[in-house]
Symmetry: none
Subunit: 203 residues, 4 copies
DNA sequence: GATGAATGAGTGTTCATTCAT
DNA sequence: TATGAATGAACACTCATTCAT
């Protein structure tokens, strides 16, 4: 892809994820990219097209990751290996939630899902439905194998995911994403996951 | 308070909570209130002042409610009466989260906390800190009394509150708040609370 | 009507009738009216609304005139008075075709009827249909009374009107409407009318 | 001539004759020709140059036709053959007014003569002066030969040409030139010509 | 011959705000 | 209390054109 176009996408994502789509003007983007306003229209049909391309790439990337996770789940059907949790957690937390690109997109979705129906859909899908569905499957599998005693796997998924979601909103999706925010998020989430599985074993 | 001024505040909250502060124009508000644009400046110094007054009233109201809850907690210091949970739950869910005014304000906070530092503070306080601190106190008390066995009361609070928070984001703070959204929210949250206390008793 | 609004309408008509609707910018109009560009939107919803109001007024005015002509025709049903021709000619030429307002509108219609369907309709109506229909009626009446010998009244109308139409296009609807243009138009048309009725009497 | 250049000229004429010069953008032309916008500047110095070349070719072609008509007139100086009218009519109507290329150019002239002085000149020449001058000559000749009784040959020319001109404006120079438009035009004009010469013979 | 990339000038329009009445 | 009228600043976007490749 063209160098300038890529730069526009990067800058746009940066700004959109900080202030939202409608609050960021073409002027703002161009100032940072250091091109004239009219030039942006060589690379994109209009402002919306920039957002669309950003979202499209995210959905592709996220779908890909989800596919890998599902694959991993299927192959460990019979015996759950010790590092399955660490692997999936790592994949989900580090490569998804805390990945710079994904994180910015998700913050953008968080801002814009109020005023944009299309974004509302993507937001619901990737913030709630997909993660919860996947976790439900994981707990179902764990019950089948006998590692976890039978229960409502959906509710288990919610209990597992919701503190992570809360921390995400609390530490990740704010005005400026500092290293401190990231650190606090990581600590809180890892603590939760450890506690959660400890308690499951206790019972 | 002046009738027109109150009408402006009501309409502004309606619109702000749907589309966010910056997406709503003075024009939009005046069209609904049915006054001319210049007239609004008799009642408010500027657009920001409308928001400020809205937030100020919310903080007063929410503080009041929190004070009542704290009071209730202190007076039931010794023996916890059977209807304490129902009372506080009702107070928190119906009179706060699902109260029309509070709900609109919180949606507004959810939209604007990204681009406005002052709102970020209020958002953090009333979405995370205050609720979690109160719940922590509740669980501490329950441990002191012996109803709940000693544990990390803060983590308990998070486990209790985060699914509620997730449902709030999922069902309450969306484009349009329909009765269906509210119903789904209520069902999900009540189910969670019931499950949560059932599991605590099991142990 | 508001003074500024009227001034905008006048200036807009001047400019539109010289260069066409799309070639004239809001800036152009405001420069002449001596207001800022944003001010024009206090008086008109958008650029199109200026044109609409101009056309609407024209249609009202032209309909009115046509009504008067039709009235005059009906009342002279029985005996055609000597000054009927002069009167109607005067009414049609001086008060319509050569009236400053009407003339400007018709030039505007002439420019824009190519690219605007709504204008195409008005253009057809007031440049062709209405004048030809009226003239047809006049000749029909003259035949009934016996002043003109029976013939195809429609074709007579065309023969009468088309040279006037040609002169209009040739002298009236051009870049700049000078007094010289007007004079040449008037001379040519009056000569035609005189000749036309002379020849009719000859037969 | 270069193939691409010719294609540009064709497309430009199509578009210009529909919407006028200034309403058609280089983008519009290039989209249809299927080349990039910058490419057009290899073939033409600028947008105006396209129009100039179009007009230049028209003037050449029209002059040629007019020359042939004048020739035909001179050679039939003495005895007017029976098919002279049909020939010239055919030449003028079918090969000129209704010829696709000429027709498009004349519509373009009709649109643009308001805002462009150079076009105004060409428009006047080919819409009024040349046709009227030629017709005047024809009628003069007919008078000389004795076929038509002596009269104001200029006025005769106007009486002959103006209904044709009116029909041209009414049916040929509109938004979209459909077959129906063409048919109506042809019918109306032929009827007029027949009538016109019948009446001349009557006298 | 053709194009990728860029640009200055301009277009219609919106917005929060001001101020005299 | 309310409004008519105005405005500066910003907005997304279009256009003809240039120029190196």
């Amino acid at each position: 892809m063209n160098e300038t176009k890529q730069k526009i996408l990067n800058v746009a994502l940066d700004l959109f994820s900080q202030n939202g789509f409608s609050s960021v003007s073409i002027r703002d983007i161009c100032k940072v990219v250091d091109i004239k306003e009219s030039s942006i229209y060589y690379h994109f049909k209009n402002k919306q097209a920039i957002l669309d391309e950003l979202l499209q790439y995210f959905e592709m990337m996220a779908s890909d990751l989800m596919f890998q996770l599902e694959q991993a789940l299927t192959t460990t059907q019979k015996t759950i290996e010790g590092d399955f949790f660490e692997k999936t957690c790592d994949c989900f937390l580090e490569k998804y939630l805390m990945d710079e690109y994904c994180n910015k997109i998700m913050r953008l979705l968080s801002i814009e899902h109020f005023s944009n129906n299309e974004i509302q859909k993507i937001y619901d899908e990737w913030m709630f439905d997909k993660p919860l569905n996947f976790q439900t499957k994981v707990f179902s599998l764990l019950m089948t194998i006998g590692i976890v005693k039978p229960a409502d796997s959906r509710y288990l998924a919610i209990k597992f995911y919701s503190p992570i979601f809360l921390c995400m909103q609390r530490w990740l999706f704010r005005g400026t994403l500092t290293d401190e925010c990231k650190k606090t998020f990581r600590e809180n989430v890892y603590k939760h996951i450890r506690n959660f599985f400890n308690e499951m074993e206790d019972k």
